[in-house]
Symmetry: C2
Subunit: 257 residues, 2 copies
Amino acid sequence: MTGAYSVTFGRILNRLLSSAEWMAWEASLARNARDYAKGTDIVREGERPAALRVVLSGWAQKYKQLPDGRRQILALVLPGQPCDLDLFTVGRTDHSLSAVRRLTVAEIGRQEAGSLLRQCPNLAQLLCWGEIVTAAIQREWTINIGQRNAIERVAQLMCEIFARQHGIPVSGGGECDFLLTQGQLAEATGLTQVHVNRTVQQLRRRCAVELRNLRLFIPDFAELAGIAAFNANYLHLDGTDRAVERVTALFRGIERD
Amino acid sequence: MTGAYSVTFGRILNRLLSSAEWMAWEASLARNARDYAKGTDIVREGERPAALRVVLSGWAQKYKQLPDGRRQILALVLPGQPCDLDLFTVGRTDHSLSAVRRLTVAEIGRQEAGSLLRQCPNLAQLLCWGEIVTAAIQREWTINIGQRNAIERVAQLMCEIFARQHGIPVSGGGECDFLLTQGQLAEATGLTQVHVNRTVQQLRRRCAVELRNLRLFIPDFAELAGIAAFNANYLHLDGTDRAVERVTALFRGIERD
DNA sequence: CGCGACGTTGACCTACCTCAATTGGCGTGG
DNA sequence: CCACGCCAATTGAGGTAGGTCAACGTCGCG
């Protein structure tokens, strides 16, 4: 369950941690795995952070709610990704976290997280790197919701999810997991469930995507990317190699390049 | 010019850096000050980060643009705040940065930034803390644009700007700087300039705000906060005291509390 | 077989957009 | 001191993308 990260962050860790570090990390995740049913809250806004959480399988969603119930999905956490660094930063969490569908998460308590960080000297840097990329994604979601129309928004989100799972731009077509219902897709894009439905049909009619069995099929990625005006820069899919040394420079004051 | 931070981040640094550290920081800022005219680009999407930038006076705006020109303001950088940590994280910047109005920024090159970080052992942690709060603000902007209607959006943004300048919730009324034109306000909220105009008028008629001479007057903050359903949690205005030790725990693996 | 979760459809509505002037304040040059 | 030009705010009229409400269809599962 914890071994099969097909997703970027897990791969980065695998590549950039030493073998001993990787094993300690994996062991810690496995030891602390916990399941959540679809829609269950894992963290609620205002709570004190209690664990370092990493998604093992399934998707988690960060969301916020207005007092009257309007809800916005803010981010998706895919397998292999840490949910946040709240344990090491804030006094109280400013958003909620729940399960998109059946979900397995590792919940590493403060003690164990501390010893894990001591065992893996590069881990903290990689976690920071992950937060930086997450922030970049949040910016893209902001312009997505603020400026794009319905079809562009949905197309953009699909491109992102595809790219995050594959880790690199793909030529031609491909497929990937897609665990959101149309209702959740609506909450993520600031649209209505009804309108998302019509928009997805439109994308289907244009043969840009096909959605079936929790899988997203993209016959021609360039076509979909064109609809969305998708630009993968913000995912920083390259540059991960130098992530550790860059963040290290921040904390050690080393000059480079 | 660099001495008068009325804004949170500058105050935090002042409080949490030692006196010698603070002086080194201030000196570095003063030495690298640079002016920009209204609307000028400081950084363009896709460039390689070349400096650690800190706003000294005026406001900077992060923005992104779609190929056809639609533009979204993603964030505002107020005096005393660092613009980003791109110098220590990414290979290429994923958004642009420009001057809201006449602006003074310190631009600290890699060499000097490195030596500054070595002189101020807590600086890196504080910069990280700033990034975390910035990310939280980005999340709030996402739900603001995704779920709130026009009057709520504008009210929310005004509440945020007020709170960020005052650092603490205020009872009763107050005033603060407000350097955005209605057009920029529109780009920040995902609305139209015309509609922002009508919305601001509505707020004025309800005696919730008054905008004059680049100042925002709020007769009763609770009133405005009520319109926006504003909740200042996401600004993490408390918890700054423990910011350094928290982030330190991440990088040293120390367990606490 | 019946229930619950999702997806789909239709009819109608409205918040916000678009386009196109017009107004007002202010700095600058004559 | 006035005239001009620029920039931001304002106004009006008309249009539309997307929302709302209320069914209905479909599929999987207990």
